[in-house]
């Protein structure tokens, strides 16, 4: 019984995905919806095969701009999060600014970035960065700020210095928060880079979709959407895996490494 449930849980996402595509296919061919309005999965697949080379090239471009922006977001977000979480003064000073900044739609920055850096890769990286660093800051800061004073006292009672407390309890304690934020940040980073590519680039999946839609090649547009979705899921799962391995203690995982 228990084994059955666990295989069912493993299979469930695949089954649901397949089911949705099947329904989609049936609806499109049953109602005879033309491809230029809503392409059926089979048409999208065919288009994916036909344009395999260009899709691959543009996907790689999007992947690396996204990862570059994300990496930047992780580094900056972590440092800022440590500063904000460790010092009440920095916290008070930065929070309104951060929240205000995060409320601005990041598309609004793209024209500015284009003026500064021209169209292409750099605005895409920076948009990915701008949109994804906020959750990292907030999570790292929350992890530090919610550190139990009792655990801190254990270190303090040994005469530990502030940085020792940070290294021995603050950072390990906020790691689960940090990894949780990575999963959110990586998907947001895709949003950022694709937005920028659609507006201001001649490379990347965003650009590919833009040019495909202007020539009414809807199957290709959808192929692009699906490629983005797949990349997002794969990256998300990668970070979820890293999270489980490195912070198993927070999830009471008996297989946590020592």
């Amino acid at each position: 019984m228990a084994i059955k449930t666990s295989t069912a849980i493993k299979a469930a996402p695949w089954l649901l995905t397949v089911a949705i595509f099947l329904v989609w296919e049936v609806v499109c061919s049953g109602l005879k919806i033309p491809d230029y309005l809503m392409p059926a999965p089979s048409a999208i697949w065919a288009s994916g095969l036909e344009y395999g080379g260009p899709i691959m090239m543009h996907a790689l471009q999007t992947l690396w701009t996204t990862l570059a922006g994300f990496a930047l977001a992780v580094v900056v977000g972590m440092l800022l999060g440590l500063a904000v979480g460790a010092s009440p003064l920095v916290y008070k000073a930065c929070y309104p600014l951060l929240v205000g900044f995060n409320s601005i739609p990041k598309v609004a920055f793209v024209p500015v970035l284009v003026v500064w850096f021209g169209i292409g890769t750099i605005p895409a990286i920076l948009t990915a960065f701008l949109i994804s660093f906020f959750p990292v800051v907030v999570n790292v800061a929350t992890g530090l700020a919610t550190l139990e004073p009792e655990l801190e006292d254990v270190l303090r009672s040994l005469g530990a210095r502030r940085w020792q407390i940070l290294v021995k309890v603050g950072i390990p304690r906020s790691l689960p928060f940090f990894f949780a934020s990575l999963k959110v940040a990586i998907t947001l980073a895709f949003v950022g880079s694709v937005i920028s590519e659609t507006v201001a680039s001649n490379l990347g999946i965003g650009y590919l979709m833009m040019s495909a839609s202007s020539s009414m090649n809807m199957p290709l547009v959808f192929a692009g959407l699906i490629v983005i979705g797949v990349m997002g899921v794969v990256m998300y799962e990668l970070f979820a895996l890293a999270e489980r391995r490195l912070t198993g203690w927070a999830h009471r995982n008996p297989n946590a490494p020592g």
């Binding site: 040994l158 005469g159 203690w249 927070a250 009471r252």
Partner: protein, 259 residues
């Protein structure tokens, strides 16, 4: 010369609020074994925080080793009322935590890693946790966590050991075993101990001096020296003089509760 000295110390957690402890004065010699008893909420844990420098007094002065306490001390080993083990470290790494902070262990840690690990494992074995070093805190029972936290307080051989109800979650047999372990450690190489407990037999068996505290706000009501000869075998707990001490302390506590 006193090793720990309180001069009419008061502490209020909220500035201007009610005192948790009030006008506490005491003197503890180096190497003395002190037990503190008193009703729940009277400020025993607060007293510990003051000695270790985790909290500054609102009034009065706290001296340890001849110097006024201005912040957390480095010569202290402390087992808190809750075990407070770090959940991301296994038991052995939790026990060895002080060695990563306190000198000279910190500098020697790389060189002496094998020796230190062996010491930590020996200590774990002494409290009945042999073989549990690789377990994580949540895989231990409450009493086992408490015992691990006692090991963490002892590993760096502190000159001042502070134990806040360390045996509270243990059964009577394990508790008596650990009394004897603590007695032997202390007898081998005397260090100063402040032990908070609710168990009067524990206080009389282990301590040179027992302090009785009043209800909140906590004051020191009685200072009682326990003149039982050392080394004390566990059998001493069945003697008349032992029972007399326990009775006397019981009377004091009873009176506090009625008042």
């Amino acid at each position: 010369m006193s090793f720990v000295k309180f001069e009419s110390v008061s502490l209020a957690y909220a500035p201007g609020g009610a005192n948790a402890i009030e006008e506490v004065s005491l003197d503890i010699r180096e190497g003395e074994f002190v037990a503190v008893v008193g009703p729940s909420g009277c400020g025993k844990s607060t007293l510990m925080k003051l000695v270790s420098g985790l909290k500054p007094p609102s009034n009065g002065y706290v001296f340890v080793d001849g110097r006024e306490v201005g912040g957390p001390l480095k010569i202290v080993g402390m087992a808190f009322q809750a075990a407070n083990l770090l959940p991301w470290r296994n038991t052995l790494d939790n026990v060895m935590l002080p060695l990563e902070i306190v000198e000279p262990f910190r500098s020697n840690l790389k060189k002496e890693k094998a020796q230190y690990t062996a010491d930590a494992e020996a200590l774990l074995a002494r409290v009945g946790l042999a073989g549990y070093g690789s377990k994580f805190p949540w895989e231990l029972s409450g009493g086992m966590q408490q015992r691990a936290s006692i090991c963490r307080a002892l590993i760096h051989q502190p000159r001042l050991l502070m134990l806040d109800e360390p045996f509270g979650a243990l059964d009577a047999f394990t508790r008596e075993e650990l009394w004897c372990m603590l007695r032997d450690l202390w007898q081998e190489k005397p260090f100063t101990v402040i032990l908070v407990t609710h168990d009067l037999r524990e206080a009389v068996f282990l301590a040179d001096t027992v302090y009785v505290m009043s209800k909140r706000p906590g004051r020191i009501l009685v200072r009682k020296e326990i003149d039982l000869p050392r080394p004390r075998p566990l059998d001493v707990t069945y003697t008349d003089s032992f029972a007399a001490y326990v009775h006397e302390l019981r009377d004091h506590i009873g009176r506090i509760r009625e008042s």
